[in-house]
Amino acid sequence: MAVILEKTFPVEAGAFTTAGEASTTIKRTLKQLGVNAEVLRRVSVACYEVELNLVIHSLGGTLKLLVDPEKVTLISEDVGPGIPDIAKAMTEGFSTASDEARTLGFGAGMGLPNMKRNASEFDIQSEVGIGTKITMSFALQS
């Protein structure tokens, strides 16, 4: 399918003060493209969660936005440390977030389950020492 828009945002590890900036820009961009409110809300939630995960857990990475006539796709790729047990990480309430992240109100163990809940399709690949790749798509028409 022809790509209408493609944009990549770098996300810095541990950068709590700027966390959410990529998600805010992505939301604004999609709103301008006329994406309906319900899809926009789901993309925004999943996008913020994945961006926060990059800030909290990764050693740095990128967030890529792809839009085609049928769907919005978000791809998060980081450079490590990788997730040893994906099934455990996907469990609601399980978190390995730092004390710093918890003090800010993160680390409720809701991130990955919340992404899966909001995306039409969700895929996570991870290798310890290599990195994690999360691909989520959101159908533009239900």
Partner: protein, 115 residues
Amino acid sequence: MTVQEMMELINAKNKTPETDLGREVSCGYTCDLLSWVMAHGAAGMAWVTVQTHMNVIAVASLMEMAAVIIPEGIEMETPSLEKAAEEGITVLESPLTAYEICARLAEKGLPGKHS
């Protein structure tokens, strides 16, 4: 209920004078876990939280909330207030506890989050 009416009801100060106080509030909510709020927030919501950092504004803005209410006389940091003004999110600081804020809003008919 408008943001202005809500502000008067909870004896709050408006920390973002640039924002629209005539905006209608759809529902109320209180929680300090941001990931939880991301899962349960709604457009037009008034969210009561003791958290005052920038990420609060990011969440409120992504969820298209009407206002963030900081209870118990806690002050929100200046960078967060600047961000809120930029995003059009009203920040109210109230001397009341989160419990009392919610009680007053509920008493005036503001519903909890729509499911």
